[in-house]
């Protein structure tokens, strides 16, 4: 058991910043490869024309989830040392809703907008200015929001803990769900792609 490497002091904070940069390059590279520097391609998800957002997102989640499960199972990684963050149910539901609306209004999410900016998209630049404005607005009214922001704290809780089923079974169910979502996505694309607007 010697992962996560950082938590076992394999390297210092300065090195961690270099690693951050390299991991970021990988992140940005695959986002752009997938076509996520284009707002039209991203937004097409919500008109069933191009389901890449769902396909890429769930392939990524399933890959990392299975990898983590396996590395934990063979004792390579100590999952308790991986930062998970607490669940604050209501603020996260409200935030998710706003984010979803913002996604189809703005055409990007914060990560994909970075890729849009570096590939020359003007709307990506304006979007990112909007993100900064939104964060600033949130910061300014934070004293009014803090009650809601800290409400419904459920602590650090995962789906296996919530519904009291084995970790491996949940992993399997998520994989099944992803495969059905992929099948549904392929079907929807065929049905909607050539539809007139």
């Amino acid at each position: 058991m010697n992962a996560p490497f950082y938590k076992f002091n394999f390297f210092n904070d300065e090195v961690s910043l270099i690693i951050a940069f390299v991991i970021g390059i990988g992140f940005g590279f695959f986002l752009e490869r997938a076509g996520f520097g284009s707002a039209r391609k991203l937004a097409a998800q919500f008109y069933f024309r191009d389901m890449s957002v769902l396909k890429v997102m769930f392939s990524a989640i399933v890959t990392a989830m299975i990898g983590l499960f396996y590395l934990n199972w063979i004792g390579f990684i100590d999952l308790s040392l991986v930062y998970k963050g607490d669940t604050y149910l209501l603020p996260q539901i409200a935030g998710g809703m706003l984010l979803g609306i913002g996604f189809v209004v703005g055409g990007y999410c914060p990560g994909t907008s970075c890729v849009a900016v570096s590939t020359g998209r003007i709307d990506g630049i304006i979007y990112l200015v909007g993100v900064i404005a939104g964060i600033f607005f949130f910061g300014e009214i934070f004293p009014l929001l803090s009650g809601f922001f800290y409400s419904t704290n459920m602590g650090e809780i995962t789906l296996p803990q919530l519904i009291n089923l084995p970790y491996g079974l949940i992993v399997f169910l998520v994989v099944l769900m992803a495969i059905s979502a992929f099948a549904g996505a392929e079907w929807a694309e065929k049905k909607f792609r050539n539809k007139k607007t």
Binding site: L31, E32, R40, P110
Partner: protein, 191 residues
Amino acid sequence: MSSVSNIINENISTVEEKVLKTPKPYWNPYLSGIGLGLVLLAAFVIMGRGLGASGAFSSLVAVGVDKVAPAHVQSNQFYEEYLGDGTTNPLKDWLVFEVLGVFVGGFISGALGGRIKKTTEKGNRISVRNRLIFAFIGGGLMGFGAKLARGCTSGQALTGGALLNVGSWAFMMMVFAGAYAAAYFLRRQWI
């Protein structure tokens, strides 16, 4: 507004230029997704944390507000969290460096694919000006929503999703619900 109209004019002129290099097609989405998943897994294994995006911009905002109005920041728990205890530079932060990498990685992939192009992404039924107004509003909603949810599509949906976090899965379902609910009203922007 003059800068916006400049942008629009330049944009129109670039559209009028013939594109000499044909962009290469995007990768298969499942393949890109697996690549993304392996990057995320690497972050878990090496650092013990996942990916993020909006957090880096929060650090930027907090530092900006601190520069302009230091006294104002001290009474605000949100800004304080991103500024830390003052012993280290808040921009010497893991997420800030990761996001710098995202810009570079996106550029490398775009350059290799011949997809670097100054343009505005939009459907045929909306003007560039209106599209940019929507981009700003959408960005604003996203920035605000991401702070409320403690993360965006990267930090919550991808990272928390792979970790099977309850809050992250609730968040992810709501992102899709919100986007599909709003999609009808914004169809002229995209299709």
